[in-house]
């Protein structure tokens, strides 16, 4: 009888739908072992619930936070992994390439690609376009002693992102807000 109950529970557990990642959400490895070896690490995992909570607690009187508050209400998740090391290439390049491969999937467009062979610095900025709107942002920046993966999920209002210029050191990306982003060609 106990075996039957256990079997029934196991069947139910296997039949339960796993939480599917949102469109635009990358499968970022945990990099748990890296945090111990890194001299500095930033790990931010904000799903829609935590993001909503974080947005509510932003100070609307602070102009910087007020702008972020406007932006983050339409977002569904922010995921950041950033590690700095004391020696060169102490991180698994294969894992970073694995994330990069996800960004070559349908819908994703690379809007910035910067490679410097001299400094071994690669920065790629990707945007997921769906229905003419940006639904996800992915940044992969790898340097010899540092690598960073940023994934922002949700309705990314490029105009609002544009309004953050000058804050947090966000550069003028010359985003044309009057034009709609062209959907990527189907592969």
């Amino acid at each position: 009888m106990k075996i039957l109950i256990a079997l029934a529970l196991a069947t139910l557990a296997s039949a339960a739908p796993a939480a599917e990642p949102l469109r635009g959400q990358l499968q970022i490895p945990e990099f748990a072992a890296l945090a111990d070896n890194a001299s500095e690490s930033v790990k931010v995992t904000l799903d829609s619930q935590l993001l909503g909570m974080g947005c509510r607690f932003l100070n609307a009187d602070d102009p910087e936070q007020a702008d972020v508050k406007k932006l983050c209400n339409s977002l569904q998740g922010i995921y950041v992994r950033s590690y700095t090391f004391d020696r060169d290439f102490a991180y698994p390049k294969a894992d970073v390439e694995g994330v990069r491969r996800q960004l070559s999937g349908p819908g994703w467009s690379r809007i910035v690609e910067a490679r410097s062979n001299k400094e071994n610095t690669n920065v790629d900025v990707f945007v997921l376009i769906d229905g003419g709107k940006a639904k996800g942002l992915g940044i992969i920046a790898s340097e010899p002693r540092e690598f960073t993966i940023v994934n922002i999920v949700g309705n990314i209002d490029l105009e609002q992102l544009h309004s953050l210029e000058g804050k947090f050191g966000v550069p003028n990306l010359e985003i044309e807000t009057s034009k709609k982003v062209e959907p990527p060609k189907k592969k």
Binding site: V44, L46, L50, G54, V68, V80, A114, R115, K118, F168
Partner: protein, 128 residues
């Protein structure tokens, strides 16, 4: 010897009828009417009566009020604790959010600089 003693004892203790007129003599010796034993009447004070009548309901009511007050207090304390925890989680999330946007902006800046800065001679760069 012992048998004699037992016989003597049995004869002495044998049931005998009361002599004639014994009952009448005893009845005549009794008083004609027995006086009732004096009873002590305890008269309750009105306050005591009131206390006896409402004491138990009052105790129940007091217990009820106490439990409601205590329950409310416990609920308030728990509510405050939950609100504190929620606030702490919210503040932590907002800090993480700002940190995430700082990292994002740093990397966007890196990309921007890489795209905008002209490459030095000899540096093989691929910019888009």
């Amino acid at each position: 010897m012992s048998e004699n003693f037992e016989n003597e004892l049995r004869r002495a203790l044998r049931p005998i009828d009361a002599p004639a007129g014994f009952t009448e003599r005893v009845m005549r010796a009794l008083p004609a009417q027995r006086e009732p034993a004096p009873m002590r009447v305890v008269t309750e004070q009105p306050a005591q009566r009131l206390m006896k009548r409402i004491g138990i309901p009052m105790a129940f009511a007091a217990a009820l009020v106490l439990s409601v007050v205590l329950g409310q207090h416990v609920a308030d304390v728990q509510g405050e604790r939950l609100a504190d925890e929620r606030e702490a989680a919210g503040l932590a999330a907002s800090h993480e959010l700002m940190q995430a946007l700082r990292v994002t902006s740093q990397k966007l800046d890196l990309a921007y600089q890489a795209v905008k800065t002209p490459p030095p001679a000899g540096d093989e760069e691929n910019r888009t």
